[in-house]
């Protein structure tokens, strides 16, 4: 029996889809059987980030409505053979996502995979609550920025109230993934500190992902960032996060500003 993970945040644009693809690929490279599931019905994007947009035939809604078998809708990754994608529907109404249907699909996936990673849509409505409903583990993706932290706090509240585990008196295992961390701004004192965010949200840290062009370059290519350049700082941060998910103890490294003396003076990034 595999574990269901929800990658969630409340706020949009913080890196849920990027993180889903990156962690999914990292876990699959260890040999684990992984499926990444797009829950963003109507605005699917995980297929693009995974580079499988031209291979989508059936989707999650088709499976829920019995128009396709689960095995028909799953897309096997061309790079890592234990990695699969279950895409969302791009055209259908999000109301077609039923609680019973979602439960059946997740249960079936958990029987066949070690990890079922659900990429949640933004917000706190039906889509996001269904995506988190059957989760064993939650990865709360947060930017070191006040609106993102506030929304994550809200999502943590929902994870403690609106999930099957919560209703059964158990707890969803929650992890904080701090993304788009900019070391130069942190050093300038203009970005929320890691410790501040941890203290405010009070859930354990899964990893810190630096703000990097690696992410944009990887999504341009349709490759999870962990497969695009395995030695990039971003990829390494995601690999470490994946190892922590499996229960390994890996010390967290806070990204530092690697620009030299002259870089700091002349190489100021545009805000």
């Amino acid at each position: 029996m595999g574990k269901a993970i929800v990658v969630t945040s409340g706020k949009g644009g913080v890196g849920k889809t990027t993180s889903t693809a990156a962690i999914g690929a990292a876990l699959a490279q260890r040999g684990d059987k992984v499926v990444v599931v797009d829950f963003d019905v109507g605005l699917r994007n995980l297929d693009l980030v995974m580079g499988a947009e031209r291979r989508v035939v059936y989707d999650l809604i088709n499976v829920i409505h019995g128009e396709a078998k689960l095995a028909q809708a799953l897309i096997r990754d061309k790079r890592v053979e234990t990695l699969y994608l279950l895409p969302a529907s791009q055209t259908r109404d999000k109301d077609k996502l039923t609680p019973e249907g979602v439960e059946q699909v997740i249960t079936a996936l958990k029987k066949n995979f070690d990890w079922v990673i659900c990429d949640s849509p933004a917000g706190i409505e039906r889509g996001p609550t269904l995506a988190m409903r059957h989760a064993d583990i939650a990865i709360v993706v947060t930017n070191p920025e006040i609106s993102s932290v506030r929304d994550s706090d809200r999502i943590i509240g929902l994870l403690d109230a609106k999930t099957v585990k919560a209703e059964n008196g158990e707890r969803v295992e929650k992890h904080l993934l701090l993304t788009r961390y900019d070391p130069s701004r942190a050093e300038a004192g203009d970005m929320l500190q890691v410790d501040d965010v941890l203290e405010i949200l009070s859930i354990p840290l899964l990893g810190i992902i630096p703000e990097s062009t690696d992410v944009l370059r990887a999504s341009n290519l349709g490759t999870p960032v962990t497969l695009a350049d395995r030695n990039s700082e971003t990829a390494r941060a995601y690999y470490e996060a994946a190892r922590r998910l499996t229960g390994e103890t890996v010390p967290v490294t806070i990204p530092t500003d690697k620009r030299g003396f002259f870089g700091k003076f002349f190489g100021r990034k545009a805000a």
Partner: protein, 88 residues
């Protein structure tokens, strides 16, 4: 004007942290979106309007949230009315 301000911008991260802590302390207290302050304001106004006519446009509600103490300031202007005066 302080000449050093040209070179050293004040750091903003601590302000962000303090604002968040105050805000979240309140949001966590009001579960399910039932904001205590909103309820208080509505009920206070309901009680007042039971006894005197209140013009909705003459009601000012101010809220100041702090980590330890929050204040709710309700300023209701009661129009001069002969009938209520006589009754009293």
């Amino acid at each position: 004007m302080n000449i050093f301000r040209l070179f050293v911008k004040p750091k903003t991260a601590t302000t962000a942290r303090d604002r968040l802590q105050v805000l979240l302390a309140h949001e966590r207290a009001s579960v399910g979106g039932n904001d205590l302050v909103t309820i208080l304001r509505d009920e206070i106004l309901a009680v007042i309007s039971k006894h005197v006519k209140v013009d909705d446009n003459k009601v000012y509600v101010k809220l100041e949230r702090g980590l330890q103490v929050s204040t709710l300031e309700v300023d209701v202007q009661i129009p001069f009315d002969r009938t209520t005066r006589r009754a009293a």
